[in-house]
Amino acid sequence: MPSKNSSRLSGERAAWPLKFGAAGAILFLHVPLWLIFLYAFTTEESAYTFPPPGLTLKWIPQALANPAMQSALYLSIRVAFLATITALILGTLAAAAVYRYDFFGKESVSFMLILPLALPGIVTGIAMRSAISLIHIPFSFWTIVIGHATFCVVVVYNNVLARFRRSSNSMIEASMDLGANSFQTFWHIVLPNIGTALLAGAILAFSLSFDEVIVTTFTAGNQQTLPIWIFSQMLKPRNRPITNVTAMLVVLITALPILLAQRIVAGSSDSEGGSK
């Protein structure tokens, strides 16, 4: 452990070895992502030479027109969409119950919801694979969705619960006092109040699902979601330029909404979606 960290602590400025270490860690996290963008434009077809021998735009239309990539992308979007909707409903219900009521086992709800994310993905994966094999459920689109929805619930739950805890109950009481029924109160007061938390939770859930590969490997049978397609391309590279472009596309599809979600959450100073 470098002892330099604690040098001259009382001063306002960090020692340069500390700055160096901090900058190094940030670069370590980000340079690989920049390279994804660089390699999407390399002219090379069958190797990863650095520096790239030349740059070209020609792979982008080719990648977008690739049928295998297209169907994987389409499947991923459909799965993520349904998993997000399911997670929104289940997560919001659980958050509302935990916030509004006291009941036996309340503390364990959060614990149970976070388990699918906290345990190694392979545990969730092989558990679902066991269930599929034991009761002979055929692999399908729906087995993928059910798996994804299960680990997406917690991000919605965390966001919505954090919002509930921050907002005061007086608005709801006022609405009821003024004669609104529960449904009107929900529609006019509660929903607008948790709206951005729902949106942030939905974005996080969508990108979590869009990106998942470990659990999906066990629940998908022969279907290929986009991450599984990329994974298979890495195992047996057939079409490197197209994989490179797809990788860039995936970074854009997942990173941009996350930036947006961060904005939304930061704007209302909530906690973010918890651990991935």
Binding site: A25, A94, M112, L119, S130
Partner: protein, 301 residues
Amino acid sequence: MLNRISTYFYLRPKVVLALMLLPPMLWFLVVYIGSLITMLINSFFYLDGFTGKVIHEFTLRTYIKLFDPINLQIFGRTTLMAASVTLACIIIAFPLSYFMARFASQRMKTFLYLAVTLPLWSSYVVRVYSWKLILAQEGIISWFARLIHLDWLLHLYLNLPGLGGPSLSISATGIFIVFVYIWLPYMIIPIQTALERVPKSLIEASGDLGATPAQTFRTVLLPLAFPGVVAGSIFTFSLTLGDFIVPQLFGNSSFYIGKAVLTYQGTSGNIPLAAAFTMGPIIIMIVYLLIARRLGAFDAL
């Protein structure tokens, strides 16, 4: 009409609670806990070697298989990898976390926080893929080694048994680097949170009382950051134990737990063995959590 329904529910909070709680709880009990139970059941079945069929009858022979030397080796190798990855993550994360907690301005802190969490949320497979590009024989690492005339050192290193391989992208070192890269944010955030809570006056007092910076670090800062380190290590350790993507893409023929599970359930259809194998990481994690609690790691969290 709506008003009457509303009043009906308003007067019966238990019914509302049940309506709200039932769908998520039912989903989790059936889909998730149910799956875990079938996994447990499956691990007590066995695969008939001749017919290739899973025999549904209670037996411990699948568990006994786990103690084959080759399987014990897989557990040992994976645990060693998880421990080294955790250690490396702590060392790399600490300076950044410390900088964020103590020296960064509010704007800088927000920026750094985003910089740390963005990779966490961007695609896992693509982040792994980026290291395929970097570690490739013709990739940027080799290029850089040639540039500073150290390529002989790289070759020497790759010839080391156990660590090296034909290229960095097929070696234990490659697996190690990619794991550290992928899980690093999970270590930075908890350490930063723990350091954030260390009062500045404590460190100043330590210095005033004559401690060298190294002593302050060892006797004041590290013990106070320890809960954060343990929290982060739970993630890095557990995630490394269960991952099969990275060993599959960067490894040679030597197995890790995740890869073994994938192979048993996939190519050989031996779901009982795969399920029993998965109990390995679960048990290792339980032991790990118990030790962490013993060390008082959760007291301060």
